[in-house]
């Protein structure tokens, strides 16, 4: 379990993370979403004690992570696949990590095989593709068999097979009862991976709920109508409490009434319909409009 309480990080006049509070629970994959520069990586670094917060606190299983003498058995983390020395082999890199935490060296080959790097283990990391480095980073996170796992943009650079594998891995880790916290700036990635979402923008919390709640609340349904008698239909629909966004003479977007009700009302008033289509905005669009709002709100607020 990861608990964040009023966590704040300022760099001079810039506030990267602003009084952020949320809890990441075990047994689920929690997506950590926000546009670039929202403060996701800074938050993850503060959870790991790499950066010290300006205010507030972050604990993992009730304890600030920085206070632990050794970390790999408590938290497995992949922050940036590039956080390695290109001159070492994958095996040497993991061997040093394992040794520092008194993890048997046999575990190194185990995790390398698990992420599919068994054959490349002896090669210099500098020659790896981004996808291979991501796999190496995941191997490092798995070394200590930890109850809490953090991944910062783990899908970057992975091929489609790799993406499917990572999703399966996260699901399995969560089903085993672990806390899995995965950041991303792409809603589409999280839609198929996460059970819960923590959404931030400009360092502030925007949403903290299950994926189902998020989509019920944010994925808006609208109905597109095309009719030569739009003005008349719009009057009828507004009378029923709907909102009609008139795009041109014959085309409008209706929100607040389902398509079947609109069809019935048109029939009752003898209005011709050429087109009637339900549209569901994607979670990606919902995410974008949510975070865009937060940016606008903050820009006005800060002044």
């Amino acid at each position: 379990m990861i608990e964040i309480e009023r966590l704040t990080k300022r760099y001079g006049a810039t506030t990267a993370v602003d009084r952020l509070s949320f809890t990441v629970r075990p047994g689920a994959v929690t997506g950590f979403l926000g546009p670039n520069g929202a403060g996701k990586s800074t938050t993850l670094r503060m959870i790991l004690g790499l950066d010290s917060p300006t205010a507030g606190r972050a604990t993992v299983d009730g304890v600030p992570f920085a206070g632990r003498p050794r970390g790999l058995r408590h938290v497995g983390a992949l922050l940036d696949a590039g956080d390695v020395h290109g001159g070492r082999s994958a095996r040497a890199h993991l061997a040093a990590l394992a040794r520092s935490n008194r993890i048997p060296l046999g575990r190194v080959d185990e995790v390398l095989a698990e992420v599919g790097l068994g054959k490349a283990a002896g090669r210099r990391i500098g020659g790896y593709s981004l996808g291979m480095k991501q796999r190496l980073g995941i191997a490092g996170a798995l070394l200590g068999d930890p109850p809490v796992l953090l991944f910062d943009e783990p899908l970057n650079g992975l091929d489609p097979e790799g993406v499917l594998w990572v999703r399966g891995l996260f699901r399995r880790l969560a089903d085993e009862g672990r806390t899995v916290f995965v950041s991303s700036h792409m809603m589409a990635e999280m839609e198929h991976t996460a059970d819960r979402l923590v959404v931030i923008g400009r360092g502030r919390l925007i949403a903290d709920e299950s994926l189902a709640e998020f989509s019920a609340r944010n994925a808006e349904t609208s109905v597109a109508v095309r009719t030569p008698e739009l003005a008349a239909l719009a009057g009828v629909l507004r009378g029923e409490g709907a909102e009609v966004d008139v795009t041109d003479e014959q085309f409008g977007i209706v929100t607040g009434l389902p398509a079947d009700r609109i069809g019935e009302l048109a029939l009752r008033h003898g209005l011709v319909l050429h087109e009637l289509a339900t549209r569901t905005s994607s979670l990606e669009a919902a995410f974008m409009s949510l975070t865009a709002d937060s940016v606008e709100y903050l820009a006005g607020d800060a002044r």
């Binding site: 790991l48 050794r70 935490n101 490092g140 109850p147």
Partner: protein, 281 residues
């Protein structure tokens, strides 16, 4: 959603030796770094041996004595523990020290390291001990091999020095220990600057350029600064009183030189540990 919870697998007590072993794996798995030290050591010994070997001819055919000058005396200390080799070892050890620290920061590896071992003092302590240890070993090898081989060559000309002489012991020890001191200074610069070029340039300035600026016989305070720079103690500690060379009237005492070396080492370690612990990784 599963309600089952995963317990942390039984964690063995943390040991400093594990961190030392991990640093050893890191050092061993980057060939370029330790090769620098091994190669520098070989070249340093070679330079000293070659210098003394070339001198044998001059010893056999000493220059004519100038009127009013003392008789020519060959300084076996000055030639067997030469300053070229000392400078070479200083820059090799200093670079190795700096690389082991800034190498982790510039690659970003430091974040992986500290995520695995949040005990930063332990990590940096292990680095200091390991780098200090292997550079001490290199210094001792270069110093003793140079001293014994050179003076064995000179023994046939009856100008060699014996290790039983306390001045020889002091010189061999000082010539060896300056190597780890330089490595620690390099680590501190690497930790403070976290930048490859900046670390190496400042190392060169501190060891080789600054002595040129803080010398001369005009102002004592300038001279005093110069005799407390990192490499300055070696000159005093390898000084042979039984030679034609005379010390400057402001030359530091032997004890002063030992203290200078000790202070550079201690301040470097303290600065390294402090900045690594305090700053965001």
């Amino acid at each position: 959603m599963s309600t089952l919870s995963v317990r942390t697998t039984a964690e063995p007590a943390p040991r400093f030796t594990d961190l030392l072993a991990a640093e050893w794996i890191k050092l061993r798995s980057l060939r370029s770094t330790y090769w620098v030290l091994a190669l520098a050591s070989l070249v340093a010994i070679g330079v000293n041996l070659n210098a003394v070997h070339a001198d044998l001819t001059y010893i056999d055919h000493p220059p004519h004595r100038m009127p009013g000058m003392p008789p020519y005396r060959y300084d076996a200390m000055w030639h067997s523990l030469g300053s070229i080799s000392c400078d070479l070892m200083a820059i090799a050890a200093g670079s190795l020290g700096a690389i082991t620290v800034f190498g982790e920061y510039t690659t970003g590896l430091i974040r992986t390291t500290f995520a695995a071992v949040p005990d930063r003092r332990g990590v940096i302590g292990a680095k200091v001990l390991l780098i200090g240890g292997i550079t001490t070993l290199a210094g001792v090898v270069v110093s003793t091999v140079s001293f014994f081989s050179c003076n064995a060559m000179l023994a046939s000309r009856h100008v060699g020095l014996s290790i039983t002489n306390p001045v020889s012991q002091r010189a061999v020890l000082g010539y060896a220990l300056i190597v780890p001191v330089c490595a620690l200074v390099g680590m501190a610069l690497g930790a403070l600057l976290r930048h490859a070029t900046a670390s190496i340039v400042s190392l060169v300035v501190l060891m080789f350029i600054a002595p040129l600026m803080f010398g001369g016989d005009r102002y004592r305070w300038l001279h005093e600064i110069g005799s407390h720079l990192p490499l300055a103690p070696v000159d005093r500690l390898t000084y042979n009183p039984d030679s034609n060379t005379t010390l400057s009237e402001w030359a530091p005492s032997v004890l002063d030189s030992w203290i200078t070396m000790g202070v550079w080492a201690a301040v470097s370690v303290a600065a390294t540990v402090l900045v690594v612990r305090r700053r965001d990784a």
